[in-house]
């Protein structure tokens, strides 16, 4: 099982802050995971309607869409950051 965590409007659109999922074998990268999630229901489709905007982190480090998800304990999805 892999822990998925969501922040800001990604969290609001999906309707939960985190969940544990069993990743299908054909989901190899962050981009493929986002695509798979978008097919899980309309709340997910809404969160990932513009997949290029959503950022990701694996085990609390920023990653690009082509990053492999194998071995990840925690994968986060969130909008571009607006701190500072």
């Amino acid at each position: 099982m892999t822990k998925l965590v969501y922040f800001a409007w990604v969290r609001e659109r999906i309707g939960k802050p985190e969940e544990e999922v069993e990743l299908p074998g054909n989901v190899r990268t962050v981009a493929e995971l986002a695509r798979w999630l978008a097919g899980r229901g309309e709340e997910y489709a809404y969160a990932f309607e513009n997949p290029d905007v959503v950022r990701a982190a694996i085990d609390k480090k920023h990653v690009k869409p082509d990053a492999p998800v194998a071995g990840a304990r925690e994968i986060a999805f969130f909008p571009p950051m607006t701190g500072g």
Binding site: V5, A76, F78, P79, M81, T82, G83, G84
Partner: protein
């Protein structure tokens, strides 16, 4: 070896106390630069900002940015404090303090820290309006990306 002071907290911070922490008991510090980011009222329309963060990653990302600043500039001390939760107009959001023997390093490192922090530290702002509506998430500015990109080092 300089150990950065990194804090993610709901409580307010005291810039003067943080400056003192980097200068107390030493005579080699010639320059201290501080930057404080505050919540503004957007012409009277904003009641509060709500800052969400990614616990754990926020600390780690500030540690990484501070370590990079220490690698690039001869600093004697570096502090980054970022608040989360609801912050009213006039309230503090973020503090960066850099100390060095000379001002150039302190100024440049402070600007670098803020530019990098804005595009890399996992914080998100939501606006609450004075009319009671819980408003929109603040959108990231492309200017912030440009500001961070100017610190990119040429490839070796």
């Amino acid at each position: 070896m300089v150990v950065p002071v990194i804090r993610i907290q709901a409580e307010d911070f005291d810039a003067a106390a943080e400056i003192a922490r980097l200068t107390a008991g030493r005579a080699d510090v010639g320059a201290v630069v501080t930057f404080t980011g505050l919540c503004r009222d957007e012409g009277g329309t904003l009641a509060a900002l709500e800052l969400e963060h990614y616990p754990g990653m926020a600390e780690e990302e500030l540690e990484r940015v501070a370590a990079e600043a220490l690698r690039r500039w001869p600093l004697t001390g570096v502090t980054a404090i970022h608040r989360y939760g609801k912050i009213a107009p006039g309230g503090n959001i973020v503090l960066v303090v850099t100390a060095s023997a000379h001002r150039t390093a302190a100024f440049e490192a402070g600007e670098f820290l803020m530019d990098y922090l804005k595009t890399r530290a996992p914080f998100w702002k939501k606006e609450h309006s004075v009319d009671g509506t819980s408003g929109d998430w603040v959108e990231a500015k492309s200017d912030d990306d440009k500001a961070a990109q100017r610190w990119a080092e040429p490839r070796p």
